[in-house]
């Protein structure tokens, strides 16, 4: 494109004596090996699980057909029934209580389980860590089944299952928040000779109060979502209606229940997003 006498740039740079290869031994080998292992695992999974890949073809259309023929139109009269609406109210209450109890228990656990302020790093820290991790690792539906077995059918089991779930959920987020605080006030409180509880109440809690409120609202939102399904295993609320109609293959009613769940969850998500913005602003 550009030619001309002065444009034939002639770099008078001496050739480099350095050696360089993109492939580094052994780092690159590890990386390729890791990638290969991941790929093999994925392919093996498809074979092991007998995933019929050909069923993906036209999956979209078949799901659409299914929705149109068997689930549409949703039986709206069914969800307008007062009994069903009462169960919705119960579900909201369950979510509310579960989130509240869970958070109340999660706060001390988060305190004990934060490395920077834990009163005892030897004993309380690992115990709190283990409790938060295991309450979180076990799915809320498993908690629901366990509590139903021990306590019988009913919302008590549901509330306790949600409590366990929220301990783990909120506890982890709370601990992350506490581990990110400014340690200055904590040192100042320790310097005045305050005991560990006072240090937490005056040095830690004021710093994380706003963040905790935000997490609390989020936990409530998530607990409500979980509350809609614990009833599926006998722990009260609208999940029971879902189970009954799934078993009876009342697809139009199932569709109506799903619509109501989606609508409620969207409302709760909207409310929670609004409330979190309010809290962040009121800071």
């Amino acid at each position: 494109m550009l030619t001309g006498p002065m444009l034939t740039a002639s770099p008078r740079i001496p050739a480099s004596t350095m050696e360089w290869r993109r492939f580094k031994y052994p780092q690159s080998l590890y990386r390729y090996f890791g990638l290969l292992a991941a790929l093999t695992f994925i392919c093996y999974s498809v074979v092991y699980l007998n995933i019929p890949l050909e069923r993906f073809i036209g999956l979209f259309g078949r799901v659409g057909d299914l929705l149109a023929n068997r689930y549409f139109p949703p039986d709206m009269d069914y969800i307008a029934d007062p009994d069903y609406l009462a169960s919705v109210l119960d579900t909201i209450k369950m979510g509310y209580l579960g989130a509240l109890f869970g958070m109340l228990l999660a706060i001390p656990l988060a305190w004990f389980g934060s490395w920077n302020v834990s009163p005892s790093r030897r004993f309380l820290y690992p115990v709190a860590r283990f409790l938060t991790m295991s309450t979180r690792a076990v799915h809320e539906t498993i908690w629901a089944i366990l509590f139903v077995t021990v306590l019988g059918y009913g919302m008590l089991a549901g509330v306790l299952a949600l409590t366990m779930f929220c301990i783990g959920f909120a506890g982890k987020l709370f601990a992350v928040e506490i581990e990110a605080i400014n340690m200055g006030p904590v040192e100042a409180m320790r310097a005045t000779g305050a005991n560990e509880l006072q240090v937490f109440a005056y040095g830690v809690f004021p710093q994380v109060r706003v963040a905790f409120t935000g997490i609390g609202i989020y936990t409530w939102d998530v607990a409500f979502r979980a509350a809609t399904v614990v009833g599926f295993f006998g722990a009260g609320g609208m999940g029971w209606y879902l189970k009954r109609n799934v078993l009876e293959i009342e697809t139009h009613r199932v569709a109506a229940i799903m619509v109501s769940i989606i609508a409620l969850v969207l409302v709760s998500e909207g409310v929670s997003a609004w409330a979190r913005v309010r809290v962040a602003k009121a800071k």
């Binding site: 092991y48 069923r55 119960d90 498993i142 077995t149 969850v265």
Partner: protein
């Protein structure tokens, strides 16, 4: 040293503001407590069959049956545990694939037709995130039948929303400077994408995907309850045969699996960022 007398007007204003704040706090506390009382009354006191439950001793005795581990079950758990991880992995992978268009439509700066594609993508993301995995699984079991495929689809649909939302945010936060640099050296648009956009976005997305994979292990561990295989199915069987020690074994297996997921995710995320 003299002590300054405080301005009385100021003191009054401050204490008035304090009092206002205090009343609103007290009100909030009362509302919360009343709601708790109502909820406890209806959900716990009135709804529980206290007679069937019996005394505290009975409850503890009832619960005690779970405090044993059926070690003989563990060899039979390896297969289902593997299945659980595989369902989580394939589900996450499928979720990532579905994510590509969702992210493209849902990132403000690249969405092809803002008034339509952007809100549609955002609605899809919210829907995907807000429907519980059990509900997704029920739906797909009805659509494709019992088996791992339903589980994979449920996991995929449940994770699309979160991955797409975070990826879209990463793309919206893109630093335009490297883009300008690659344009200036005469790179094609494709090269701009490969050299300036991907290196910025990919680590974020991989981090999110690994995070979601870890959560998906937890989710896929229960999909067996609604017929999608894995540890959940074993759990269900142990429960139905009243082998409570076996139930505890499954829970222990789930804990181990989640711990494994956390370790893998920790190291992989370290490696990519």
């Amino acid at each position: 040293m003299t002590v300054h007398a405080a301005n009385p007007e100021l003191v009054e204003r401050i204490s008035a503001a304090r009092a206002r704040k205090k009343t609103s706090r007290t009100l909030l506390a009362i509302v919360v407590l009343v709601l708790v009382a109502i909820s406890v009354e209806t959900t716990i006191v009135a709804d529980t069959d206290w007679e069937r439950m019996g005394s505290l001793g009975d409850v503890l005795q009832n619960a005690a049956k779970f405090f044993a581990v059926d070690w003989s079950l563990f060899p039979n758990l390896i297969g289902p545990a593997l299945e659980t991880i595989m369902v989580a992995t394939l589900g996450t992978l499928l979720g990532v694939i579905v994510c590509v268009p969702a992210t493209w439509f849902g990132a403000l700066n690249i969405t092809p037709f803002k008034p339509v594609t952007y809100p549609v993508a955002r609605l899809m993301m919210t829907l995907s995130r807000s429907i519980h995995e059990i509900v997704w699984a029920l739906f797909f079991v009805a659509a494709v039948g019992l088996g791992a495929l339903a589980g994979v689809l449920a996991i995929a649909m449940r994770s699309v929303g979160f991955i797409a939302k975070m990826s879209a945010e990463a793309i919206e936060d893109l630093d335009p400077k490297p883009v300008e640099a690659i344009r200036a050296v005469g790179g094609s648009e494709f090269q701009v994408f490969i050299y300036a956009i991907l290196p910025q976005v990919l680590p974020v997305i991989i981090g999110v995907v690994i995070f979601e994979w870890e959560i998906n292990i937890r989710r896929s561990s229960i999909l067996g309850l609604v017929g999608a295989g894995g540890l959940g199915l074993v759990f269900f069987r142990q429960m139905n045969t009243f082998n409570y020690a076996g139930v505890t074994s499954v829970i222990v297996a789930i804990l181990i699996l989640i711990l494994f997921g956390e370790i893998v995710s920790h190291f992989t995320r370290k490696a990519v960022t």
